[in-house]
Amino acid sequence: MYYVEMLRAWRVMRIFLIILGILFVLAIVGRFSGHGRMDVANQYVVPPNARHVVHSVAPDGSRMTSFDGSNGEHVVIRTDPTSDVQSVAVTEPVSGKTRPAEAKIANVSIKQSRHGHLMTTVLRYHRIPLDYALGIAAIFVAIFSSILGLGLSQENDGHLELAWTKPTSRQGYAASLIGVDILAMVALLGITVALIVVILAMYGLAKLIVADAGTLLTLFFAFAYIVSFYALVMAITASLRRASAVALAILWPVVLILPSLTDVKWLNIGAIVRFIDTINPLAYFYSLSSSSSHTLLPPGIGYSIGAMAVVAVVGFVASLAQWRRLEA
């Protein structure tokens, strides 16, 4: 029963693989046309007028370079042996009375000591969490999943007699269709993430990629995001025929714009949008990159995953209910 959907998913996936292929070729061209390898080692160049330059190796294997600058600052460059991530610590004397203070902004930390010294540490080359790759891939695959979400409506567009005269129930047929699509989405997600990693590696940034326990949560988020989007499209279009493509063309701009309207106070539009956005998977994606929520739920990846799982389940139930009621 899954054969037709397998062919259909492959037909759509080929287009996305071609897009990925084009991006990969462009990355290769970029790599060999001047931008070159972004080697993270030896990025910080010791100035020519530096004094007391000392190269050493710390007990943990880190390569250390220290020198005094022309303005009286003392600079220590520490290079991690495994990732080549550099931290550059600049300690400079400060005139007048000072009190201990500490601040951290992005990859810069500033520490002021009681003794009139200000140490500024810049972590050069942030690590690249795999989460970023998952996020980018999830957006890409969401487009794919929204097209696959038209599966039931495409069956409804003149093929029900063929679909429903197979020795399987309507629910069984729909379940196999959904199963194939989910496998295709997962495969494309994996391929896209792998390609991003390969491109980063080509540019010599592979060592900076990190994954931790949070990455697993992001993986769940990405999966919930693409599946909920798929289920949402399916629920909206299951009873439609050719109009399903129009519905999808309208849906995309709507889900993209809605989260940006949650702060509109005029006519209480923000509250209404927040309510609608609770079933908008893209709103959870917006929430992922900010500390505020665009839905009725509080911010947090856990809430987002849970909500999207509910959207997916409700979407599938609504789709199946429509599918069962259709007539050829």
Partner: protein
């Protein structure tokens, strides 16, 4: 599983009664022809039988049991219009069937492809209407079902392929398979069907064995000198079912006393009066055009 019992099947689309209290019993190994003008309810009847449309009332039993999804293993269906996927090749459609039906016969599929000169690598979108019909026939027969429900299975086919489909149906029936089909080609139905039902505007007008329907009925045909002739004593005859007047020719469908009508025609001035056996077309036209004879005559005049 082959005896099909249809009881009191009705289906409406809004205010339109597409099918009204349709009943029929179809025996295993028989060929059942469903006839009717366009919009008679034939396709609706098939769809309700197969659960593709929800009947408002009535039951359909296959060997005494209501239709369940697993029974489609033994039911082949060719819809009235092409439902194939335009973007798939014929080979992919057959692969779909192979995966879906455990009784699928790949050798049979190859034979049938050759019979209809179909190229399996072609995409459906590149096939003509007739070739799509032929492809649907190949798919249905290759699945080796016990029951074949064929809704106008010769649509768009050339006479050679129409004949081939008809032969497939007759051969399948000879092997004990049950065939239910509809067609506008009454000659085909007459050749293949043992029993028929005639529908009009969703209502069953007539049903029974073709031989039984024909027996006792005759056609009396006479040619007059001019097209101005009287039919006194013919139109009032209670045994006359239908009178067809075309120019100088008078054609009368009559039960039992055909000799009496022939004599009366001669008395009225007809020459070349002859008595013929009723054919299925006469039965069909008699049923779907049935109206009071005088009214029928008015229309025919």
């Amino acid at each position: 599983m082959s005896t099909i019992s249809i009881q009191n099947l009705s289906k409406s689309y809004g205010s339109l009664a597409a099918l009204t209290h349709f009943s029929a019993n179809i025996e295993q190994g028989s060929v059942f022809g469903l006839l009717g003008p366009n919009g008679a309810g034939k396709t609706t009847a098939f769809k309700c039988m197969l659960g593709l449309a929800r009947a408002d009332t009535g039951t359909v039993l296959f060997d005494g049991a209501p239709l369940e999804p697993h029974m489609f293993e033994r039911i082949g269906y060719i819809p009235e219009r092409s439902v194939l996927y335009d973007w798939m090749t014929l080979a992919e459609h057959l692969e779909m069937q192979r995966r879906a039906f455990s009784r699928y016969d790949a050798n049979r599929a190859r034979e049938l492809l050759a019979l209809f000169s179909l190229e399996p690598r072609k995409r459906v979108r590149s096939l003509s209407k007739g070739m799509r019909t032929a492809a649907a026939v190949v798919m249905a027969f290759a699945a080796n079902p016990d029951i074949l429900i064929l809704d106008e299975p010769t649509t768009g086919l050339d006479p050679v392929n129409q004949r081939a489909v008809l032969k497939l149906m007759i051969d399948a029936s000879a092997q004990g398979k049950t065939i239910i089909f509809s067609s506008h080609q009454i000659g085909q139905v007459e050749r293949a069907a043992e029993t028929i039902a005639i529908l009009k505007e969703g209502k069953l007008l007539l049903s029974g064995a073709v031989d039984d329907l024909k027996s006792g009925w005759k056609i009396v045909e006479g040619i007059f000198e001019s097209d101005q002739f009287s039919i006194d004593g013919i139109s009032s005859d209670p045994d006359v079912q239908r009178i067809e007047r075309t120019g100088r020719i008078l054609r009368v469908s009559v039960r039992s006393d055909s000799d009496g009508i022939a004599r009366r025609m001669t008395e009225l001035g007809a020459r070349d009066v002859r008595t013929l056996d009723l054919n299925l077309e006469d039965i069909f036209l008699g049923a779907v055009e049935a109206r009071p004879k005088e009214q029928s005559l008015d229309v025919l005049r």
